[in-house]
Symmetry: C2
DNA sequence: GGCCTGTGTTGATGGTTGTCAAATCAATGT
DNA sequence: ACATTGATTTGACAACCATCAACACAGGCC
């Protein structure tokens, strides 16, 4: 478990493998963040989110996206919306006959900040 | 403001469903972007990327992450690194005995920009 | 050449996921 | 109460994925 190749006397190979002390993400955070990224890891869900976030009123009716340019059935759309919802990226609300979805901007920004963090883009 | 229930008589259901004209992402872009997001959709890969991007020299030796805090076997680490590499998020290079990985910042920033785009975070 | 160590690949396996048809729930109107 | 339309759930199935053990490859050292 001690890794690398030991090498006692000469410091040569020791040039590799300076310990990193487990920087940044711990396992717990990684699980939550990965759940959100995984929800984005499907073309249809990405397009759904795009439609939701680019809606003029900040929300969109499900009836605007079912049976439209997405070549999947209604239940499949509903399934993908559920994945996005349970990941915390969108929130849905029923008003009368129709259901409206809007983005959860705080979580979306959290992901953006992670990919844009100094630790990720610094030299 | 625009849609929702209204409901006149003949045009009844047409009150909902104002077409959106397929805003923002097209199907082609969505596939490429989803591939990158999917690569981030695993806790281990997320922690791997975190280690890589937070390395002091901008790159990290694989020997620094195998057999370490990740409770998975060596081949599994190698598999996840391959997924990240083929998604275009990291790049690897062999120098002598060891292999070094560094982040592909352009693509990481592209994802961050997408989640931070006006269409996504605007009021 | 052989031996060792660091990485990556292959094959197999159990679990997860995307998809649809059919059934179900919710709200409205007849 | 009944029928209708919007949206979700359930059940089933094929495809994919994460994981490991075993093996193969690469480079340094004897």
């Amino acid at each position: 478990m001690s890794k690398q190749l030991v090498v006692l006397d000469t410091a040569d190979q020791a040039a590799c493998c300076t310990p990193i002390t487990e920087a940044s993400l711990d396992a717990g955070q990684a699980v939550d963040l990965a759940r959100m990224f995984k929800a984005l890891g499907d073309p249809i869900r990405l397009r759904l989110l795009s439609r939701i976030t680019s809606a003029p009123d900040g929300e969109i009716c499900v009836c605007d996206i079912t049976g439209d340019a997405f070549d999947v059935s209604g239940p499949t759309i509903s399934h993908h919306l559920k994945v996005l919802r349970e990941a915390g990226l969108i929130a849905g609300e029923r008003r009368g006959t129709w259901v409206y979805y809007r983005p959860v901007e705080a979580n979306l920004r959290q992901l953006a900040a992670l990919l844009d963090a100094p630790a990720l883009v610094s030299a």
